[in-house]
């Protein structure tokens, strides 16, 4: 998507962004993303219909931090659990996600079939994003999940129901 000629620009933009973040007077520091306790993370799958959490623990390299840790968690979420798959809601096959963590926000760029559209029910859609939000916010330091679809912030999936242009939090799914 970004041509070779822009590669020289991007580090400059990144440096600028970094300078923006750490300009004197801008005292807000991102909370530290801690290592997973005991080398475990929890992926919260969600049951269809009841929207109850179905947590599954995974072992993880204790050296992983921040975006790498979030990426690992999302990979497990997309892969799904080994058992009980009939009653939980998974992202459609072919979905991929890139995760980056800035401050307390994980930005998840969704690629795959959902970019074109979503043709499922509202309950299932809600369950998918609830599982994503809960899984990422299980990682210490992450409180919010900003979803991008095909690299863009969107109001909703095409054919979807859930508002996605603002960060999702656990409160979003609170009853």
């Amino acid at each position: 998507m970004i041509g070779p000629r822009l590669r020289a620009w991007l580090p400059i933009a990144a440096v600028l962004a970094a300078m923006v973040a750490f300009t004197p007077g801008c005292s807000r520091k991102p909370p530290p993303v801690s290592q997973p306790p005991n080398g475990h993370i929890t992926v919260d799958f969600v049951d269809a219909g009841t929207e109850a959490l179905a947590p599954v623990d995974y072992s993880v390299d204790p050296n992983l931090q921040g975006s790498q840790l979030a990426d690992y968690a999302v990979t497990q979420l997309l892969a799904g659990p080994a058992t009980g798959r009939d009653t939980i809601v998974l992202f459609p096959q072919g979905t991929t996600m890139d995760v980056s963590v800035t401050g307390d926000t994980a930005t998840v760029n969704i690629a795959g079939p959902l970019v074109k559209g979503y043709q499922g029910g509202a309950d299932d859609e809600s369950a998918m994003f609830k599982s994503l939000t809960y899984t990422l916010t299980n990682i210490s330091g992450i409180a919010r999940v900003q979803v991008l679809v095909g690299g863009e912030k969107r109001a909703a999936l095409s054919g979807g129901h859930l508002e996605l242009d603002e960060p999702l939090t656990r409160e979003t799914f609170a009853q």
């Binding site: 000629r5 020289a8 300078m19 859930l162 609170a174």
Partner: protein, 714 residues
Amino acid sequence: MIRSSAGVLCAVAALSGLLAVPARAAGVPVTPTDAKVFVAGKAIAFERLGIAYGDPVAPAGDAGIRAMLAQVQAQINWQPGTRFAVVTRADGVLITLTLGSNALSVDGRPVAMPFAPFYRGADLYVPLLPLARSLQLGVRGFKGGYVFVPQVLTITAHSDAHRTVVSMTTSAPAAYRTAFDPKHGVLSIMFPGFGTDALGTLPLSGRDGTDVRTTQDGPPGFPTTTVAIGVKHGIHFAAHRVDGALAIDAVLARSDAALHLDDSTTAVGHVTRTVQGTAATATVAPATASPSGAPSPTALRTQAPSSAAVAVQTAHPVYIPRPTATPTSTPAVGPMPTPTPRATPTPTSSPAVSPSPGSSPGSSAAEPTELGSPSPTPTPAEQRITDVSVTDIPNGGTRLTLTLTGSPVSFEWHRLADPDNRYWLDIKGVTLTGPSQTLTSGLPFVKEIHITQFQVDPERIVRVAIDPTQAIDVNVGPVAQSGNQMGIEIERTPPQDDAPRAGVGTIAFATVQATPVPRTPTQRDLVVIDPGHGGNDPGASNSAYGLIESNLTLTISLKLRDALRRLGWRVVMTRDADYEVGDPKGDDHQELQARCDVANAAGARVFVSVHINASVAHSLNGTTTYYWRPADKTFAQAVQDAVVLADGINNAGVKRNNFYVIKNTTMPAVLVETAFLSNTHDAELLTRSEFLDKLAQGIANGIMNYTGGPQAPL
């Protein structure tokens, strides 16, 4: 919007006035002045214009006051010896000025003034600037006096299944002109002598038009506001003067019949023009509309209709003087779909003033320089650039994206002639966060781009300087789908030889949610029904039973509409056939926001979105009703109870969820997932018309139980 900003101005003025000048009823020093006053381009002759506490004042009985008010079809009533002067505005709103009171009353609401009206001899002197602001006039000072400019106050759009209506309201009767550019499909409505704060682009969500671009050019004392409406191919259009000549509606529709305003709109006056045929081939005779009985300001006579009235508006001329309103007011614009609006080219050697021969309000005011309002004017809030990024754009160009902390921001651009070709853009009132940047481009035709804090005093200016190797074209505008980004697009297409070399512009961001359409007062007998999905979005489906969600939601919704009408409700549907409510090519923001716009603009008492559920878990079945705002839970429960009672299927309960259409509508709103088409039992029922009847009747009963039924309009 204008009112609130004027209120802030007045409040600030009042504060400083109160601190500096105690209100005194007598002995106020009035210094005679020969300052000029122009209203709507006409020089006003006062008998006893004076300055008190630094601001212009005149006796309530002065011929100048009467002439000033007549220019905007207002009048004053004051009897010698009385404590009150009452001004009746063209829209019927009463403005009351009271002896010794530091607040004037506008339609019963107090608006602070720097000082109170006072008697001097037998005359009740009133302050002119607060009076002008309460008349919704823009107030400008210039070297020799004051200019009061009528305003295009609001520009809003509303689309339904049949038509798109772009509504413009003005603070004084407008002798507007219309022009249609068949090449580009642009219907322009020009308001000579009118300024506006509603600059920018408003995307149109319906099938009839693309967007509405509002620009202003000409000298600050006699600007022309142009509302350019992009009309899609084959669409018919007409402009109507409505509501006592203070509003103009442009109607776009697929059929002539739908061009006419329905009974809900009071159409007063005459149809200016109705053009038959397709938007791409229609030809238009130049026409000038003049409201019957409206004053014809002298300056307008020079704007005779001519071929200029049908000039092709390929570029949108932008001359934007410093906004008279406070920067906290949000212009009624939405983000532009792409950063195409050009930073445009007002040919002028002096960017501050764009001379417009024949339209100056008078010789002495031919070039009103911007001295600012003589009354205290808040300094615009300073914005910061917090990020810079670069992306590809089609045609081999690149886009520099600046993330800003807010808007509006004004800018000025210059380019040097070939072969130098350097281009720079000065963004005013803006601080660059971080050090200056030099971006080394890989583009073959751009050597470097510098971004620097060019100036700090007296005004902070960030300069973006582009050093190309050939002539380039640069477009500036807000970035789509972003609430706060300014895009600078660099393309290798050289501008034409005679293209302007400098220009100015303003960018104002407003998210679609912020001001898509104004909220209409609640119509107590109106329900808006939103049949979920439609057009290129079928929703969920069950091929085994031949069920498609978008068809089912429409069928149920039409049945619901009929049921509600039988109960005495008025009903507005977001769609009544199989189509997208928003722009079919637009993103989902427009589609779902368009549905919210319908309800918000209609002033619905309640909003119901009808859906069919589906799940990967095929055993799931039954009815669920969703709400978002805690206050809507009661409504959701009422609908859920009534639907479950009627349909007899599983009660899957009431749930809270952040679904877009129930979050972004401004009235009690629910989304009903009536049944699961992925469940064999529910799917079989959904194939039966009598089951769909039950669902519709159930929802209608729920609305009745929650609202108590339709109520007569207030």
